[in-house]
Homo-oligomer: 232 residues x 2
DNA sequence: CCTCGTTGTATTGTTGACAATAATCATTAA
DNA sequence: TTAATGATTATTGTCAACAATACAACGAGG
């Protein structure tokens, strides 16, 4: 059985040349998967020790994490891992809806035919994985983001790509880890992905944007209800 | 004669408690108004001297500027002030169109009546300033962004607000300084602003978004033609 | 018992020195 | 003359010590 191919969104090569970057990647991963608990206080000297570096590079890592909103920092008082709440997640999903809608529109205009074919193949793979018990985990965790990443990349808009991939998706991943549950109904999601791809293939910008926005706002509704029931 | 009221988008209180923040603000201003030329190389020790600080805080400032894309940094090789090109500006305007369209939609849903009234007054003031020779400079430079800022704030979406105000508007300001010219036809822009405000007042989300997007994509067309003629 | 001010401690902000890296320039061989 | 190669230098990356700040504990006064 072929393993689902690795995600092609290397935020940074894991063997980065600078210590600050490596520390950044490590901490980011630990925040996203909950090893560093939400809302927990960050003490520079402690973390420096923990990640085997000195305060200098660690400080740079923290600053970068602050920029992508994984960390909140208040001057002279210290930093904490962000604590996701519903309002914040709603803001993120709304921004994402807007940006990805635009990305889908641009993809319909600009995506090369070959890439569209490849996108179809990706969805075929996802379909197989849905029926496959162990694949389910993969599909629900990362396959979904993989699809969305390809659309963002196809937009050929650097700003949108960087903000989706570098910031919004990270926060969404973190939210998923938190809730412990997966995005709902993979089959329904897949069907929508196919619709969107088809609109792109037909170069129907308007429809592509509309479908993407509907897809994401639908996803938010289910995520929201999960968060609300967890929160009482 | 009453001076146009100061912009209410203090990115940071100018008397920030930390040296790194003050340095950041200074450099940012210098980049935006061209004192630090586009594409010019940044040498940490030189700048540290120039801004009266040591390399530590200056480094933090540079990192923050990198995050808002005013500076480009390559590991071990140094940093440069970003050099705006047409593709980059197009990406920015497209992202802005998407985000501000959504912001207008949210504003139509959420903006308190009092704030809408205040928005009307702001536009009245702009109208006066258009006929006033010295006001023209103000309106064209900052008044336009002032309006857009209020919509973004009214969306009550933190992510959108921060990204528009903290990043996109800065780059657009920088672009304006570069071209030397002002946004075109203040009267036409004002008319569109009124339309948008009116849609918000009527709580017509769909229309508010549509008008805002049209407004911004129109602005891009004229900016683009200016850039192209400057560039040959 | 509560409030306010004071002191002490922990943590961040800042600095200058040192190490590592990459760009530059001169030198040599083809 | 040009291309490759090696030493040199400028610049960034990293570190550890020092200063400034905010928070907590404590005590005095109401």
């Amino acid at each position: 059985m072929t393993k689902p191919q690795p995600l092609n969104q290397p935020d940074q090569l894991s063997e980065s040349s600078t210590l600050a970057s490596r520390t950044y990647e490590s901490i980011k991963a630990d925040i996203i998967d909950g090893t560093l608990a939400q809302g927990s206080k960050i003490v520079e000297s402690d973390l420096a020790l923990k990640y085997g570096t000195s305060r200098g590079p660690l400080r740079e890592a923290i600053h970068r994490l602050e920029q992508i909103k994984l960390v909140i920092r208040v001057p002279h008082a210290g930093s904490r891992v962000v604590a996701l709440n519903i309002k914040m997640m709603e803001d993120i999903y709304t921004a994402r809806e807007s940006l990805e809608g635009m990305a889908a529109r641009l993809a319909a205009r600009l995506m090369p035919d070959d890439d569209i074919k490849s996108l179809h193949r990706l969805l075929d793979q996802h379909e197989q994985n849905i029926n496959d018990a162990e694949g389910k985990v993969y599909f629900q965790r990362e396959g979904d983001i993989d699809f969305h990443f390809r659309i963002a990349a196809a937009s050929q808009n650097e700003w949108i790509l960087e903000n989706l991939n570098g910031e919004l998706y990270q926060l969404i991943r973190m939210g998923r880890h938190q809730s412990g549950r997966m995005p709902s109904r993979p089959a329904a999601a897949l069907a929508q992905h196919r619709q969107i791809t088809s609109a792109i293939e037909q170069r129907d910008e308007e429809l592509a944007e509309l479908l993407m926005r509907r897809h994401i706002s639908g996803a938010w509704k289910t995520v929201k209800s999960i968060l609300e029931e967890n929160h009482e």
